[in-house]
Subunit: 256 residues, 2 copies
């Protein structure tokens, strides 16, 4: 199978012109087929605020009421996505911006209300990867916005890490997939106060031990759980690193 790299980049990197251009340069240099998954939360918050709409977050997740859904549809699906696409095209990358509604690639269920009503937020239910796999094989580079749809006419705000994981898993039937999660550190650290203490490789067994020994804690646990879930579903490897290392993934943590 041909190689495919699925890269998720969030945060201000994709929202500031200089860092975005640097990122896209690195992304363009990756050989073989690739997919970019982006966030855009800071821009959504800024545009919402200008429109007089308050951003409410619970556990780091955005509460998405009807007005906020319009904002994220504009910002994720329009502003951020289409500017990345136009920039990649300028680098000779044949980018195609997509939400989950486009070609019905990602169908979600609106998250049920339990303690918290997250509003128009989607939990991915199914992925239709055949058409994008075909486009990727023809040289197209999908750029995925963190939006899915419910199949009943409504778009749903969806976590970009989840989009990346689900896309990688679905594409694993067609390609030899490496999934890369970019975050603010070089990788998973064995000492949180030492940025150079990157653990270069983690297996599922080693992960259990790291959690047991309290070396891996907090938000890193669900991130790694997602990584191993992707591997169980056929993804070849998952790299956790920072965007500056795109192009040299050996600097990050490899989950296998």
């Amino acid at each position: 199978m041909e190689k495919l790299t699925v890269i998720k980049v969030g945060g201000k990197i994709v929202e500031e012109t200089d860092s975005l251009n640097e990122l896209l340069k690195r992304f363009s240099s990756i050989e073989g087929h690739k997919v970019l998954v982006h966030g855009g939360g800071r821009s959504a918050t800024a545009i919402a605020s200008k429109l007089g709409i308050e951003s409410k977050m619970v556990n780091g997740r955005r509460i998405t009421d009807e007005d906020m859904l319009k904002v994220v549809t504009m910002v994720y699906g329009g502003l951020v996505n289409k500017n990345i696409v136009a920039s990649l095209q300028a680098s000779g990358i044949n980018a195609l911006g997509l939400t989950g509604a486009d070609m019905n690639i990602m169908l979600s269920d609106k998250r049920p209300v339990k303690d918290i009503d997250y509003g128009f937020v989607g939990d991915v239910k199914s992925v239709n990867a055949a058409l994008i796999a075909d486009l990727i094989a023809k040289g197209v580079v999908p750029v995925l916005a963190p939006l899915t749809h419910d199949g009943k006419g409504s778009l749903l705000n969806t976590n970009a890490d989840t989009i990346a994981g689900e896309a990688a898993k679905a594409l694993a039937s067609y390609f030899d997939v490496t999934l890369v999660y970019c975050f603010e550190k070089n990788g998973v650290l064995s000492d949180e106060n030492n940025d150079d203490s990157v653990i270069s490789e983690i297996t599922k067994e080693y992960f259990s031990k790291l959690v047991e020994d309290k070396i891996v804690q907090g938000g890193m646990i669900p991130k790694l759980e997602n990584a191993f879930q992707a591997i169980d579903a056929g993804v070849k490897k998952v790299v956790i690193t920072q965007a500056a290392n795109i192009g040299d993934f050996s600097l990050g943590t490899k989950c296998i």
Copy 2:
């Protein structure tokens, strides 16, 4: 060749939920392959206004400065486009929202400044229809936003009638294309005060005569010129009618 209908709908029809749903129902009922091209000017003006950005129009065309480009990218590429896509998906239509930057389908030149600086406005230079023609043949329904790109990283605001005409012309190499321009009347009228005086068929020769006799005047002239330009470029027929007639194009004016 298989049949393809390219429909351009602008105005408030695509921007109000009830009329949009009615339109999409009619659009869904069209047999065979199809493409939808939409506008979104009213929403752009409304969002711009809420963001404190003034909309400046010259000869009915929007002056698109840097801030306004962000607004139209959000509104055309995100809000309007993705909501249409999600609604069509709910009707079982495998819609795919696209700007000209996506898969590099429509490349433009930024309009040169003469008397008026229109800003980030594009005049279409080339259309790459191969990939979308292939998707259309596979049952995908492209939904085109009125945005193109300059190939240097910038999106450009582009007239939706032009997008529809250029798409129809480029797709004429792959399909037997009918191009439909929806506007507020049933068709081209022989008496502007009588909505029932629709001219059912116009040839290029008859068009010259209608202009000579001052039966066709004003904004109708460039519309018909575009229609015959499309026919010269291989489009089978162009229908000018109102959105309510989608599904029964015999009620409109057919240019052949």
